[in-house]
Amino acid sequence: MSLLHEQDFHGGLRGLPEHKELSTGQPIGELFMPSRLVLPLCQGVGAEAEPVVTVGERVLKGQLLAQAKGSLSTALHAPTSGQVSAIEPRLVPHPSGLPARCIELVPDGEDRWGELPRLADPLSSPPEVIQAVIVAAGLAGLGGAGFPTAVKLGVQGRPVKTLLINAAECEPYITCDDMLMRERAAAIAEGIQILRHLLAAGQVVVATEDNKPEAAAAMSRALAGLPECEILSFPTAYPSGGEKQLIELALGKQVPYGGLPLDIGVVCLNVGTVYAVRQAVMAGEPLISRIVTVTGDGANSPGNYEVLIGTPVNELVAHAGGATDGVERCIMGGPMMGFMLPNDRVPVIKTTNCVLLMQTEVPAVQQPTMPCIRCGACADVCPASLLPQQLYWYARAENSEKLEHYQLFDCIECGCCSYVCPSRIPLVQYYRAAKGEIVEQQAARAAADIARQRTEFRAARLAAEKQQRAERVAKKKAALKEQGSNPEADAKKAKIAEAMKRVGKLEAPSAESADEQP
């Protein structure tokens, strides 16, 4: 009997226009060499990686360019051989539109690999060895926010009942996971076996949506004969690919508030990440390329392409047949959660799953925002079971206390609420802005704390100079005040930093609004 409970998650949208067939007509396009590569030191969440190369240095393909710094950062490798031409702030693909430090690499065209540390027989290697390879390869979640894969896999002996492979790919337009499964199912299966061995996971579940029958068929052929391994195909519903939603769908359990999937014995990885794990362990290749969907009614020849990390979007689009005239927007990610690019010279990063070129203007912007009528349509579709209308109310009132009471930070920014709102309120925009503001307030408070501590240090030092005999005592005091590392505080800081990365510095929306209630 299956251990799985098929059940629904709250809310969500069914019957979104998917447009997936646009980009599944041709096989994944082969790697191409752009004229330059721009590699942001931060590839998602976490701190910037620390460059280990200097400007002018020649590097080989796969060579380490920057090493991870801090728990949520990932290492960065040279996607091809060439010369480092700059290390400086550039525009990066981030909703904030702010520049961030990048390494620029000019390819030499030889594409020469450095040495590759592959594992001959991963399934009989000790887990620590595999884990070390994954850390070194700079793997980050390819499906979502780019959370370091090594952190997810660092279960530290806690039991993993289920390894859940997220192959839902629920956003419209995006098909990179679909095509990956169709074409490279065998490699994914190898990745699954490595991960199961690494995690000592009892059961493997590959969860996908029923709009990908070819991919599901390919996967079930590749996984045939593996014990305790199941492929589940759910009715298409957005956002079934949200980690929490997928866990509820596939396993009938909810991740407890503030907890991790591991707390209920689950490790959930995107199928693209699984493939990258396989490449790292068996081929020794660090994460230097990924599959990107280039699609939309503004793309001349929509399809999927294997793309080097760091490839500028305009070169990718040109390689993919170019954009039609009159493209209104270039969006990185899907239409529900992606963001508009500040310009098309920003690079593809580890989390870039889709470049969406849209020609048509969204009709929504032609209608003014109306007041909230509290119809609750937003709450009905919210997969986090929040009350978006209340959040909206308090976001406008800038009442951060109430916002936290209504669990603003549980919002996954899926956009379902905005999509159904009859008053055309850009709700998610308000939440992103409010989150950014709260995070900033907290950061400011933290900075003030540090400043206060510094002042106290200084006072202590002055006192010490005056009273030499009391020097030791004063020092001790100061040392005592210096807070030892507190795991809880560290975790909180990491969370804040992550949220900060995600929200950036979005301004509160100033859409022309008919609703100007003070």
Binding site: V255, Q366, M370, R374, G415, V428, L506, A514
Partner: protein, 344 residues
């Protein structure tokens, strides 16, 4: 127009106008049955209320310096006007309609901040003001056409509503009116001693509710099911309201069937059905979460029964709705939904 600064970049195609149009569409069957059963008067009062409402809304928007077109065209005034007139007797004098609409739009809606900010259901607020100020006019319900020797036509209705021809129309109106089933029941039970006798006392009673009226109620039910099907409303409020009213009626009917009419009579008389599907479901003034909506709806249902049975008025939908409107902030406070991953 600026571009959408933040995702989602897909458009669901939902709009307020769409929602309001669906509500109006769902009222069409009721209007048709109404005209068939009670004559064309209701169409006149509805048009009058809609025109008055639009004019008042435009004026208030101008005064409050809000853009006219988006708000005038959202359809909410039309819904308010329709619901108010359906609550009034069909041959009520024109000035009653005008005063009620003005109060609903100007005071209950615009002075509270306009669409989305009104704590009270505007139509019900307008109705209650009329009921308290002009009780006589509001109790002159026309008899169903089937009980009249001479059915009321369009010209008669116009004359009576606009008072053309001096006192004659008023006298004529007296001849046309009749106590409503709820009124009749309330007055006659104590006099005649039993529900049976009360039912036999007047031809106004129909098979389950009122003669003619029960058909209109059926049309409300139909329209309500349409709104549920189109997901314009959720089931929570209407079901809770009808169950609340039905359970109360059933309980007392079981205790003493001679003094308390059966639940079906209550559900199919008066404004219970339109209240359940069209009035209590007004999102602005209702509770927010689904749990809250169950409490809100059930509260209205119970209150309707209490007012009908022991209150000073034959029907209690308007009072019940307004009373529960007042409790909405409290209900909302205590019924937040369980957020994903939080223990209940």
């Amino acid at each position: 127009m600026s571009k959408v600064a933040s995702s989602p970049y897909l458009d669901g195609g939902y709009s307020l106008r769409g929602v309001m149009l669906q509500v109006l569409l769902a009222l069409v069957p009721a209007y048709l049955v109404y005209v068939w059963q009670f004559g064309p008067g209701i169409l006149i009062t509805t048009l009058l209320a809609m025109t008055t409402g639009l004019a008042a809304e435009a004026l208030m928007l101008r005064v409050r310096q809000r853009p006219l077109w988006p708000f005038l065209s959202d359809g909410s005034v039309l819904v308010t006007a329709a619901l108010l007139t359906l609550a009034l007797p069909p041959l009520v004098p024109w000035w009653v309609v005008v005063i009620g609409t003005l109060f609903a739009v100007v005071v209950a809606k615009q002075l509270y901040g306009g669409l989305g900010y009104n704590p009270f259901n505007p139509a019900m607020a307008g109705y209650v003001v009329l009921l308290i100020s002009f009780p006589l006019e509001l109790t002159r319900w026309s008899a169903p056409q089937s009980l009249l020797a001479d059915p009321v036509g369009l010209v008669d209705s116009l004359n009576m509503i606009f008072g053309v021809g001096g006192t004659a129309p008023v006298l004529a109106l007296d001849a046309l009116t009749m106590a409503t089933p709820l009124d009749q029941m309330k007055v006659q039970i104590p006099l005649l001693g039993s529900v049976e006798a009360a039912l036999a006392s007047s031809p106004v009673f129909g098979a389950i509710g009122g003669q003619g009226g029960e058909w209109v109620v059926g049309a409300y039910l139909l329209g309500g099911l349409y709104l549920l099907w189109r997901r314009v409303i959720n089931w929570h409020i209407p079901v809770a309201l009808l169950v609340g009213l039905g359970l109360m009626a059933g309980l007392f009917h079981l205790l003493d069937a001679a003094r308390y009419p059966d639940p079906l009579f209550h559900l199919f008389s008066g404004a219970a059905m339109i209240g359940a599907f069209f009035i209590a479901t007004d999102p602005v003034s209702a509770a927010t979460s689904n749990r809250g909506r169950l409490i809100y709806g059930a509260g209205i249902g119970v209150m309707i029964y209490l007012i009908r049975t022991w209150g000073g008025y034959p029907d209690g939908v308007a009072f019940a709705v307004l009373l529960m409107n007042m409790l909405v902030p409290l209900i909302d406070y205590y019924t937040p939904p369980r957020v994903y991953g939080h223990s209940s």
